[in-house]
């Protein structure tokens, strides 16, 4: 059974760093792209960026380039989304999703990680 399990909710202060994770199981991790999606409170979905687990090729949405870092650790089948200095405007739900290499659709999604940034 394919599963994507995301790390738990986080409450942080502005300026703090953070890394959230997305661990996959039940599929060949290195044959998949992993994407990160932001959903701000009451708003729509936004693609932040995608990473190919096979070779770590990463493509960022220009709106998020330089604001976050996406990475993978193939040894533990886990993708990461990292901030070096959080802002209040980073408060949102973050989802990971997967697409098999060669496909152009995201067929499995994690349960989401809520990040709250408040002083």
């Amino acid at each position: 059974e394919v599963q994507l399990v995301q790390s738990g909710a986080e409450v942080k202060k502005p300026g703090e760093s953070l890394q959230i994770s997305c661990q996959g199981s039940g599929f060949s991790f290195t044959n998949y792209w992993i994407g990160w999606v932001r959903q701000m409170p009451g708003k729509g979905l936004e693609w932040m960026g995608i990473i190919y687990a096979g070779d770590s090729t990463t493509k960022y949405n220009p709106s998020f380039q330089g604001q976050v870092t996406i990475s993978v650790d193939r040894s533990v089948s886990t993708a990461y989304l990292q901030w070096s200095s959080l802002k209040a405007s980073d408060t949102a739900m973050f989802y990971c999703a997967i697409a098999r290499h060669g496909n152009y659709y995201w067929d499995f999604w994690g349960q989401g990680t809520l990040v709250t940034v408040s002083s």
Binding site: G44, L45, E46, G49, P62, N103, Y105, D107, W109, G112
Partner: protein
């Protein structure tokens, strides 16, 4: 790359059919048959309903169908049911950064 344009809301009575449009450009929706549709219930993760314009993943009801004409894709829900009340998002591949783009989202209300 701007978000794809969807109507903010669509409503229908149980049993009726509704259609949600998703308008992009020749660089995304119009240029490739890689349009997907997602359903999102409140507090839940998005769920893939349609991929590659018109294909349904295993387990998705055949009441959901997709199509495309030019730069506009459409999702039709036939035999509307109370459980279909949710937000719906289209998404398209584009070779231009950021590679994928979502629609603005449509709230479906079952009257």
């Amino acid at each position: 790359q701007s978000a794809l344009t969807q109507p903010a809301s669509v409503s229908g009575s149980p049993g009726q059919s509704i259609t949600i449009s998703c308008t992009g450009t020749s660089s995304d929706v119009g240029g490739y048959n890689y349009v997907s549709w997602f359903q999102q219930h409140p507090g839940k993760a998005p769920k893939l309903m349609i991929y590659d314009v018109r294909n349904r993943p295993s387990g998705i009801s055949n009441r959901f169908s997709g199509s495309k004409s030019g730069n506009t894709a459409s999702l039709t829900i036939s035999g509307l049911q109370a459980e279909d009340e949710a937000d719906y998002y289209c998404s398209s591949y584009t070779p231009i950064t950021p590679t994928y783009v979502f629609g603005t989202g449509t709230k479906v209300t079952v009257l």
